[in-house]
């Protein structure tokens, strides 16, 4: 290998390395994100119906059990509406439909509504935990 070619290669490699050294902190800075856990609390007065909505969460009563669904459509994240007549969730953006258990019935979404964990408090509140 000629000396000039060798020096050129070293120069190019050093430039790439320098770019990476400068880019890495920039990308790390831009992509940093703190994972937040949001707790949505349902007081007994806030869950009088079969299906109750608060802050992007549906809390649903099934027989004597409770379960929670994220109200965000699994297609593109719009908040779904609950239709009491048909007992189905409808997405107002692109028309996906889910049944009361969150299972996809129709539309472009291909996953069911996300089930969220619950915590039963001593004071009677039910807390739904979701990640932001």
């Amino acid at each position: 290998m000629k000396r000039s070619v060798f020096l050129k290669t070293i120069f190019v490699l050093a430039t790439i390395l320098l770019c990476i050294i400068f880019l890495y902190p920039i990308i790390s800075y831009l992509l940093y994100r703190e994972q937040k856990i949001v707790k949505v609390s349902f007081h007994p007065n806030e869950r009088l119906g079969k299906v109750n909505f608060k802050k992007g969460v549906y809390l649903i009563k099934s027989n004597h059990n409770w379960y929670a669904l994220s109200a965000h459509c699994t297609h593109l994240g719009c908040i779904v509406n609950f239709d009491e007549k048909t007992e189905k969730f409808h997405c107002p953006c692109h028309g996906s439909v889910f049944d009361i258990s969150g299972k996809r019935v129709a539309g472009p979404a291909n996953r069911p509504l996300t089930r969220l964990p619950l915590r039963f408090m001593k004071n009677g509140d039910i807390i739904v935990i979701k990640r932001d």
Partner: protein, 281 residues
Amino acid sequence: MGYLRHYLSFYLPRLILSSFLICILSGIFLTIHYRPFGDVFRCVEEITTVIPYGFFFRRLHYITGQLFVILALIHIGDHFLRRTYRRYRFRDWLSLIASIYIAFAIIFMGFVLKGDKEGIFAGNIMLNIIKGIPLIGNSISDIFIREGEDFFWLPFLYHCFILPLFLIIFTRRHIHNWLPNRGFFLYVTLFLSTFAVFFKMPMDIPPDAVVPTVKGPWFFLAIQKCLTKIPPLFAGIGIPISFFILISLISLSKGHLEWFIRYTILIFAIVYGIITILEYR
């Protein structure tokens, strides 16, 4: 016909520039009272209904923003039909096409910043479309919009500072004089201000309201329709990027290839326009 061509070539660019400058000025007034945190919808409604003349600045900002992109589209269409893209160097043509995309991105971010149901949903849709990009989607979505308390912060930065700056940088070779005719600018300002007083803006939907359908901004309606039929990655990213590549390549192409690209763009634009009109009704 000659008069129309003269109008398009002479007055249209001046009208576009005037709209852009008035849009920036009215935007500066809105920024003083706008807060991208907390109850953003309430803040927007306060600007519109409580703060003296807030409604006027909001309407003027809306009208001039819409006018700017619509007239810019007509300007591009005029040059496209007259084949003047042949005169441009590829780099310059690419900058101009990028600038119209940036203009649409600014309007889209403005739509999100309304903070009403439509705005929040538009932001969520954008976030999820970006997240759908394989491998990098989840990471790069954080650069554009984030869930939670600071949902409106990044769109605010993009709408007010980052994207307008890029727009100015990309159009700096094209626009030689930002204020070529002060008298014309004053008359346009006067006319649009009067129009803003009587203009009725589309209603804002409160974030908690239950509505059967939610629509995005007018230029997004065709993509919104496509999103119901085809995967988000193709509808939300594939279609705009394909159109960008096609319209960029036309300045490099010649002969049969140019003819092919030209008619593909025309058919695409007509179909997109028809879907938009049908969805808007």
